[in-house]
Structure formats: C-alpha cells, structure tokens
C-alpha cells in the first residue's frame, strides 16, 4: 500500500517453497518477501507451518523445493546474517544467563571477556540486569524468553527470526514487550520476522502482516498497516485503522476456526 515499503529492497525472499514431512504437506508453493528494516508478521492458525517456514529461512530445515534468498544469496544453511529466537527458548539449563546470552558469540569464537561484555549490555537492554548469574530454572517463562532474545540480539545479525517470542508471558508483560519490540525495530535497523498467534499483536507491531492458510500453507493475504506507525505506542490501540485491520483479519481467519 505505502510507497515506502514497495521501494525498499528485500532482506529475505521466499520463492515457491514446498515442504513435506513424509506424507504431511506443510508448505505449498509459498512465496513471500520481507522488506529490509521492517517487521513482518506471520499470522495463521496453529499447525499451519509458521515454525517450519521460519526454520527453513534460518537454514535449520531444508525445503523440499523452492528457494530462499537472504540479501539476494540463496540459503543453504545457518549463517551469521540470521539469528533465531526459539518458541521453546532453547536455553542451556546448566549455563547461567550470562553464558546463555553469550553462547552465540562463544560458538563464533569471540574471546570470553569481549563476549561477556557484549552479553552484559544486552542482558541490561532486555531488563534482566542482576540476573546474570541465575540459571534458567530460576527464571519465569517471560524472563527466559528475554534471555533468548538477548542471545539473538548479541550476535548482531541483520535478520531476526522470532518464533512466538511472547507466547509464554502474561498480558501486561506482553504489552510491554510489544512496545519494546517497536523500539527495537526503530533503533536497531534490523529486519524482523515475527511469528504470532495473536491478531492484535500482529497488527500492533508489524509493518507487514502475512496471513497463512491452514495446511498446506500458502500466503492468503498481505496487509500493510501504515497509517498509525508514526503514532506513539499508547494511541495505536485506539486508532481506527488499527481496529479496522484487526476486524478484517478476524473475519478472514474465522472461516478456518472450527
């Protein structure tokens, strides 16, 4: 819709991707572009293949056919240009918050003092200052998710792949995280791919929303909320365009519920 989003180049392009798990066809001829510096949400019912698509983009799963381009280059595996925030956190239970956050850098061979300095900065950024030496089992679900987010941020990848990062937190915390995420998109100049179940959340945080159909999954619709992006975080939820888009998405998705 907006001229801005059509002119920017794409950080990630998905071209005619198919994915089968044995007989189960998870993705069917899916194509989608992710504009650079923007946040794109993948919204769709449970089991429609959102995690599958994100993992294929991450290079963790091979596509059955089709192609993924990151900065114009085809993807054949994980790369330093992408970082993943896992739906189930994927923290090392025997490692402290500090080591978990620094783990991405540790695997890249960054020396200990340097990687811990970077990790400490991001631990503070996500609001976990003081918990550096706690273990994951001592943290709440929301705090664990923030550890996963800090780990992804600390490797400084251009593309952040976030699989339902806010699903494990209560509504108040979730709203706070959503506001923080808008701040991140504005300040970090990264491309965000964001999976969510929540229509409101998708509309609130996204520059572009891709609505996926149930299995076998394709993109049924792309929506670009544009009118309220510049507004301050509090007034977005009362904006009439915001409410209209939420309604519109609900009416197109409700046919698939039940």
């Amino acid at each position: 819709m907006s001229a801005k989003s059509q002119n920017t180049d794409n950080a990630v392009s998905v071209r005619n991707v198919y994915k089968n798990y044995g007989d189960v066809q998870a993705l069917h001829d899916l194509s989608l572009d992710f504009p650079r510096g923007q946040l794109t949400s993948l919204l769709g019912p449970s089991g429609c293949g959102k995690t599958t698509l994100l993992k294929i983009i991450a290079g963790l799963l091979p596509a059955s056919s089709g192609e993924i381009l990151v900065n114009g280059q085809p993807v054949s595996g994980p790369g330093p240009d992408r970082a993943f925030v896992f739906q189930d956190f994927a923290l090392l239970p025997w490692a402290t918050v500090l080591r978990n956050v620094a783990f991405g850098l540790e695997l890249r061979g960054v020396v200990k003092s340097e990687r811990e300095a970077i990790a400490e900065k991001y631990i503070a950024d996500v609001g976990l200052k003081g918990f550096e030496h706690s273990y994951p089992h001592e943290l709440s679900g929301g705090m664990r998710q923030r550890v996963g987010l800090a780990r992804a941020l600390s490797v400084d990848a251009q593309v952040l792949l976030m699989d339902e990062p806010f699903s494990a937190v209560d509504e108040q915390t979730r709203r706070k995280f959503q506001e923080d995420l808008l701040g991140l998109v504005k300040n970090e100049n990264k491309t965000f791919l964001f999976v969510t179940h929540s229509i409101e959340e998708a509309v609130y945080v996204s520059d572009q929303i891709a609505i996926l159909l149930p299995r076998p999954s394709r993109v049924s619709e792309i929506i670009r909320p544009s009118g309220f992006r510049h507004k301050d975080t509090d007034s977005i939820r009362r904006d009439s365009e915001y409410l209209d888009i939420v309604d519109k998405i609900w009416s197109s998705l409700r046919t698939y519920v039940e």
Partner: protein, 260 residues
Amino acid sequence: MAGKVIVMRHRSFLLKCLSALLVFGSWEIAGRVPVSFAFPTFLESMLALWVLIIEGTLFVAYAETLKPLVLGVFISGVLGIGIGLWVGLSKKFDWLVSPIFVVMQTAPLAALIPLLVMAYGIGLTSKVFVVCIMAMPVIVLNTGGAVRNTPISIKEMGHAFLGSRSDIVLKIILPAASPIIFAGLRLGVSAGFIGAILSELKITPTGVGDIITYSRSIADYPTMYAAILSIILLAVVFLNLLERMEKTLFGGLNKGYVTD
C-alpha cells in the same frame, strides 16, 4: 537456609549411621543365633578384617586385585563413553554395535571365561577382559541413550548460532547427557568390581579372590566375610569419588543422584 541445609546434612549422616547400625546389628544377631555354621558374627568378621589389615595381607591382596580392576574400569570408562557417544550420534553405528553390547550384558559370563582363558591365558589380560565385559555394556548403552535423547531444540539452537559439529557435541550434547552418562559409569564401576572378584575366583585365585578361596577351604569364615566386606567398602568409596568428580566437572547442577 544455610542452617536448614546443615541440619539436613546432619540428618542424612545420622540416617546413614542408623542404617549401618541396623544392618551390622542384625548381622551380629544372625551370627550369634547362628543362622548357619558358616556364618560368622559381625564382630568376628571385623576382628578378622583387623588381622588382615595389620598383617598387611589385605594390602598385598588389593595390590593384585586392583590391577585388573582399575585397568578394566578405566578402559571401559574411556572406550565405553567413546563408543556410546558414537552410537548415540550415528544410527548406522548404533545398528552395527549396540547388539554386541546387549549380548555382552546378557551373556552368562561364567560360560565365557573358559573361552577367554583359552584365548588369552590365565594372566592379567583375561581378568581385564572379564572386568570390561561386566562394566562396558551399561556404560555404552547408557551413554548412547543419553546422547540420542538430547533435546532437539538445544541442538538446533547450536546449529542456528553456527556451532561446529564438535562444538555441538562438546558444549551441548555431552553436558546434557552427563547425568545419565555418570549413572551408567556408576553402574559400570559396580559391575566391574563384581567382574574383578569373579575373575579371581574363576580364573586363578589371586589377590582378594585368593583370600576368599583360601579361607573358605580352611573354613576360616570370618576372614572370608572380612574380605567380602572390604570389597563392598572399597566399591562405596569408589562410587563416592565418582560422584565427587561429577560434581566438580559439572558444577553440581545435576541433582538427585546420590549413591552414598
């Protein structure tokens, strides 16, 4: 908090003393009844143990027994964890190798000993083999199972953050599997002790096996029981050392494995 922990430690120590008292007390009573002519009392056995110690017989015997035991347990530990790791990482190798260890674990060892003696003679080699046959299968199978069952999501995380194959094995799979690997080691070490004594009873009577065989032949039952008791004590000490090692290696994060 700290006070409570100390009380708990105290209590677990008291409980241990109490259960030792109970076991030894009933042993003493059973010996006095007597249950059997060949069953000495606890005090007689302790006295015999004391004699074995001050005469130095026990140390000479253990110098002999510990050779195949330590060697066999060491080989089983290193080789067993190595093979187990490989079994857990590669389906093909698992298919090829696991059945051997399952057979080894279930095979009647007494029937294998004559074959070992024919192949390797009556020396140290055969005894080390017996210890390994006893100790290795459980170490291999436990390690393999633990490695296979590493949560997929943390392996995937290592991959996503560009970990190399060896990074993923050393920094993710091994620590994740370590509690079960150590459980296997403990079982393997216990089995190794049985193997070492069995080999001394079945191949050539040396070391502690010799004390047992000889004292039985002259009906010196207190000495025989003293020798058996000393093995049990040594096994407990060994298992505690292993647990200490696990705690220092993995920071005591793996809770709930207490053998003492």
